[in-house]
Symmetry: C2
Subunit: 811 residues, 2 copies
């Protein structure tokens, strides 16, 4: 093949169009308070577009293309091609830029050994980066687990010999073999510290007070840290990560301060006994780690599209460490979070998730041998008939999830518009105190949510002494089968307490999720579902005990063994509520299966998840994450929703009928004309046409580049004045008088994506989704008619769904 000399690539100018809409959308952010004070970490998503070289290897038709050649010196002008904060990225441009860089490195590899090493480093950097992300995610997760466990136990007491040990570790050091209620003599509860007694009213009140005070301290710390250092560290972060991965810039959202504050904050928030989990924030933390490490590798750090490949893998690692579920994590990243490039990064995401899980397992923060969070092992398989109650659980789960989503959204919207939003720390404190006061008396709400879930999932065996297992049965042997038995009074008492816990947890979570501290809702959702499932499970079990000869129980339940496992119902119920809340499907089933190690129970889990999703979809369109994305007005174009209307591109494009389209001409406008156009309009980019009369499209140029190029030319080129012609062509017109022309072909994108005005909007939406466009130009018989931006598409979608189109805020 013939080799061409070094020259710029004709088709990929150094700068590309940004979107067409007004630039000052950020100013609409006054409602989105969480974005207000993001300044401290704004350096974390710096972008530098400087492409080191533009060597191209062209073999055919070089001569034909000589005309479109340009010098490739656009990187002389500083700042050209960067993205503004809260803007949408252009995937095609970034990916093209990466391929150019890659070709340059491959080409240079033959030059010297140094370049060869550089080439190898470049080829490996993706793997090295995800390896580092995996390792650090595992380590951070381990630290958070250990810290949260220690602080949670601090609410109840302290280990006087070694205050840095939590209760379990403290008791390991003692030699007692049995612990009463998990307490040992080494571990001092707060009443013991002060009055040396455990029972009675006085100690109870002391414990109660300490519980509330610690909750208050932890919550205050968490909320203040977030408010002072990293406002982006609040919430679960998953809606924002979905938006970022779909190609949006939020500077500092994945920065180092967010990482630190979110890690500390989530430990504090979990320890405060609030109704929240650390699993969602773990995804955010992992993505912060991914973002930070991507800066070690310019290939990823300086290219927003490539960076999202690392973030995708990091999200998988986040779920992997949160639940000990690497496969589930990859599927979660694929199904729920990632947007644009699922398959290419699948293998790397899997690697990252596996490394993270492996590191966390080696740290072993819980000190048990089971690698899964809620390891369960049931004696009995499920009966086919049980699919009916499982589907029933799915339906109830879907209803509970819908209630939760609607109520939570209502409360979040109220927070946004009312004065409440101005007192974030106070809100957290009030929620924390109320939660602590109500939670303490009920043993099921007092205990750690994870412990409660584990208790509800587990089967009543010999060692289980909880009220829930107060059956009229005697265990003769550890290995013997569990016999069928009537429930004792303890079970009924437990059921009542669980009903109260369910109501309390539901209300608490509604008010908790969305406040200004780190909070996830995987664990609260699982807990709601597990309570519901366990109650239904006990009901079915007692039904089978009292009516063993009804046809549905007659097969398996006629022997003396217990044929119904209430723990399995809890597991299925947990999957149902979580599925209803998040609308996850395959990833949910795989996570539950990895979470519990229950290979045999995929079918029940699937049945419940399916029923729950259908009920949820029927009652309310969106899952909680999509609802929060909409609430915040992020420009997220859901890749799963179908566009069901018949509009055409002509219906959606700007300008509307009575307006005129702002365009530049290729060779007839002066600098003055261009500057006045820039002053008078707010569009982010302008199409360039042959002439104003013909409107035949030449290319697209963006406001930012135009501004920069003009001011740069005025500064550096001699003779450029208001009367200079602005040329977007390569030929200089015959012009003997007047000032020299300003040549701007290098900032012109000569390959904008165009569609005809008759294109159905479903095709347009598809193109925006799949090609990651920011805007497309609409033509008719070759003439330019208008522009459609991502924001136009989103607003049109809202309008079609009879919603307020102005709720879409950003470009």
């Amino acid at each position: 093949m013939e080799k061409a000399p070094l020259r710029g690539n004709a088709a990929i100018p150094m700068s590309f169009p940004t979107s067409y809409h007004a630039v000052d959308d950020q100013q609409q952010l006054v409602n989105g308070q969480q974005f207000r004070s993001a300044s401290i970490s704004s350096d974390d998503e710096m972008i530098d577009i400087t492409t080191t070289g533009t060597v191209t290897e062209r073999s055919i038709h070089q001569d034909e293309l000589a005309a479109s050649h340009f010098a490739g010196d656009a990187d002389d002008i500083p700042g050209i091609g960067q993205y503004d904060d809260f803007h949408t990225i252009d995937w095609q441009r970034d990916i093209a830029r990466d391929r150019m860089r890659h070709r340059y490195i491959v080409k240079k590899k033959q030059d010297s050994i140094c370049d060869l090493i550089k080439g190898a480093h470049d080829a490996w950097s993706g793997w090295v980066c995800v390896l580092l992300v995996g390792v650090f995610t595992g380590v951070v997760a381990g630290v958070i687990d250990i810290g949260a466990s220690w602080m949670s136990d601090l609410k109840y007491g302290i280990c006087p010999q070694a205050f840095w040990l939590n209760r379990e570790q403290c008791c390991w050091s003692s030699n007692e073999t049995t612990f009463d209620n998990g307490n040992c003599s080494q571990w001092w509860t707060w009443p013991e510290v002060f009055s040396q007694s455990r029972e009675g009213v006085g100690p109870y009140i002391i414990s109660y007070l300490f519980y509330i005070v610690w909750a208050l301290i932890f919550a205050a710390l968490a909320a203040s840290l977030v408010r002072m250092f990293a406002p982006y560290a609040c919430g679960s972060g998953i809606p924002e990560i979905k938006t970022i991965l779909s190609g949006f810039i939020i500077r500092g959202y994945l920065g180092k301060w967010t990482l630190i504050i979110k890690s500390v904050g989530i430990m504090l928030a979990v320890s405060a006994g609030l109704s929240l989990g650390k699993e969602g924030p773990m995804v955010h933390i992992a993505c912060c780690i991914g973002n930070i490490f991507s800066y070690l590798f310019p290939k990823y750090g300086k290219n927003e599209a490539k960076k999202r490949e690392i973030l995708s893998a990091a999200a998988a690692a986040g779920v992997s460490v949160a639940f000990g579920a690497p496969i589930g994590g990859v599927l979660f990243s694929l199904e729920e979070v990632s947007y644009y490039f699922p398959l290419k990064t699948l293998w790397r995401s899997f690697f990252c998730a596996l490394v993270a899980a492996f590191v966390l397992r080696s740290i072993n923060p819980f000190g048990n041998e089971h690698s899964v969070l809620f390891f369960v092992e049931y004696n009995k398989p499920w009966i086919f008939f049980e699919l009916v109650p499982f589907i029933g659980l799915g339906i109830i789960g879907g209803v509970i999830a819908t209630i939760f989503i609607k109520a939570n959204l209502y409360w979040c919207r109220y927070r946004k518009v009312s004065k409440l939003g101005q007192y974030p720390v106070t809100e957290v404190l009030v929620v924390a105190v109320i939660t602590a006061v109500i939670a303490y008396p009920n043993p099921y709400t007092r205990m750690n949510t994870s412990q409660l879930i584990y208790l509800l999932f587990s089967q009543c065996g010999v060692s289980n002494s909880d009220n829930l297992c107060d059956y009229n049965r005697n265990f003769t042997d550890v290995t013997s089968a569990i016999e069928k038995a009537a429930a004792g009074p303890g079970v009924y008492k437990a059921i009542w307490l669980l009903v109260l816990a369910l109501i309390f947890k539901l209300i608490a979570t509604i008010f908790t999720f969305g406040f200004k501290a780190p909070c996830g809702l995987f664990i609260p959702s699982l807990c709601l579902g597990a309570i519901m499932g366990r109650i239904v499970g006990v009901g079915v079990e007692q039904l089978a005990y009292h009516y063993p000869h009804v046809w549905m129980f007659s097969g398996e339940c006629s022997t003396g063994d217990d044929c119904i496992t209430p723990g399995l119902y809890a597991m299925v119920g947990a999957a149902a509520v979580l599925g209803g809340v998040t609308r996850m499907t395959v990833s949910l089933v795989v996570i539950m299966f990895e979470l519990t190690g229950g290979v045999r129970y995929i079918v029940p889990l699937m049945a419940a998840a399916m029923a729950s999703k259908w009920v949820g979809d029927a009652l309310g369109r969106q899952g909680i994450y999509d609802a929060h994305i909409e609430l915040n007005g992020y420009p997220f174009l859901d890749s799963k929703e179908e566009f069901a209307h018949t509009s055409l591109a002509a219906d959606v494009m700007q300008p509307k009928r009575n307006e005129t389209l702002s365009v530049l001409t290729q060779d007839s406008m002066t600098v003055e004309d261009v500057e006045s156009l820039l002053r008078e309009t707010e569009h982010n980019g302008f199409p360039v046409v042959v002439s104003r009369e013909s409107q035949y499209l030449v290319g697209f140029v963006l406001r930012r580049d135009l501004n920069l190029a003009i001011s740069n030319a005025k500064r550096t080129q001699e003779g450029i004045c208001a009367q200079s012609l602005v040329l977007f062509t390569s030929q200089t017109p015959v012009q003997t008088t007047g000032p020299p022309p300003l040549k701007l072909k290098k900032i012109l994108d000569m390959a904008p994506i165009t569609i005809t005005d008759q294109t159905p909007m479903e095709t347009v939406v598809d193109m925006f989704r799949k090609l990651g466009l920011r805007q497309t130009l609409v033509t008719h018989n070759g003439r330019l008619l208008g522009v459609i931006t991502k924001k136009d598409v989103l607003r049109h979608l809202k309008q079609m769904d009879n919603e307020d189109p102005s709720s879409v805020l950003f470009n």
Copy 2:
């Protein structure tokens, strides 16, 4: 919202362009012999485009669009819009058509109860269809498993009391507790049938002869059935299914005859003792079931794009039943097979895979309780140091896989061009006889390949009496740990036999894969890897026994227990070779993990799969499936490969410099002109422009539609003659004399995808992949310059890789 009256959709004409290239590409098929006699099943992929209605709901700008309205009566003309065999489908068109149908049903739902039921049926049909596909796939897999097991045993003997039982079932009916080498008195081997003796030279020869004769009979039956009834039933089918799912039409490839013959043929081929597996063909069989059931639901049966959603789910079900791995099946379908819509169908694919696995498990063809194919349980976890030999296994696996791929491709290419291809049945017979003759003497090749894999995977325990477990150790107790021991002479003998088996299997599989009988290569690949792994494993084990104090073994191996499990090495080696051959990644690891139930061994499996893939990619670009796709010249645009060149659309488009573009004008050509254009060119479609001078693009029309519309008009409309003007506009020109014009606006696609000539080819390739295009029109400043079809893109890719561009055969 305002409702528009019933009318056609302005933007989606009933017919769409096909590609621009010559129509008679099928004639190049003389080399691809497998396509020659496909006529018997050509009715299986009938397509009927008749859209039941074109109700549209338009709310805005109706008036503006009135001009582009058309009567929507294009379905008057029979045959418009169908696809020809061996052509590429247009995803955008099919999906738009489905949405139109969906809108019509939603709209009509309010009219009557009957329509409401129809609407509900439509909404549920996807789930019902995958349910049916899952159930039937499970049943067919069960039948194949039972049949293949019975016929395999027929080679050795018969159950005289009940000839329909296989050896295992036959022996269940006897009351003996121990079987010598799996034989019991109920089961008569062939020598016993004739001479009542089992030992000695005579019986050995009789057994040998019977083995060969049965192999010959089975192979002859399999090859003849395929040759006579369903030529598409040969091979594994996965390359073709990948191509079909990427949007290609091969009529009859997924038809009922293919299903029946492939099911019977794979039983016969497996029983013949050939070096092949039934796992790959199971995917093909599942896809046939998916295709057949999709005809029950017009939503899927009559829409090629929607049908591929069902096929995707069916492929997942196929892998799910082949390995008992539902999650692995879904990931396989996602990663390896599916192309265009992975996420939308994920949940349904998972459902389908789970139902299929559940049904197969209920049938329980193997009669054991483990749901996984090769259930293993090792006593010892792996040591961190072992990652080194595991990665070594990955490297060797990659090398073996590359040797296999290159040799197999060489042989297949030779078969295509030489006379060998004319004797497919003879070839199968010769391979079968040679395989049988060589395989019988070696016990490891004589046994069923699955049994061999299971043997190699398993740990040497008390019950294992094979030579491979001839260690100098005594078992005191079933539950005691396995002590470290030196290998006995049996092990060394076994190793030698395994080396011979490895060489033989490798050569046999090279000649087997690709011949004209059903054959898969999952099991042979796993077997090659397992043999290799076991040999290495025994080596490492003996190393650890003889040098227990070397640093790398000093931690875990210093106690008396066996610290190295050779079975685990076999498992890792199997993953390595399979990974190298197919280049699967995540799905491979998940399948292996589900196949063996070994949760703890994900990290070793992953390390080996990774090493193997990298070695494979370094030595030869393609996996076996992609290589076979290329060999057959299918138009498959790989979604994983990156386009690494700098060409522009202008370099690739047709026509080249000295040719002229064949176009139609919107209102100045007569029927005669159009007909002569159709006669003189072979393009599958023509752009329509404003005038030949201006070349401004109006739309695109396809040859097939044009032919049909003209002949239809001549038949039904009065006055249409050779001088009639052909109009693609809605206005009738002022024309008083002459014959009435022929209005063809209804067959014009007014929303063709266009790009500019300066668009980089990487963007163009991306658009072809992601939007599923057949062609795109190239413009410059609004003027039409040329056309790029999928075939042009594929040929350009070949050219860039210095390969023969004419190897791309189809449109």
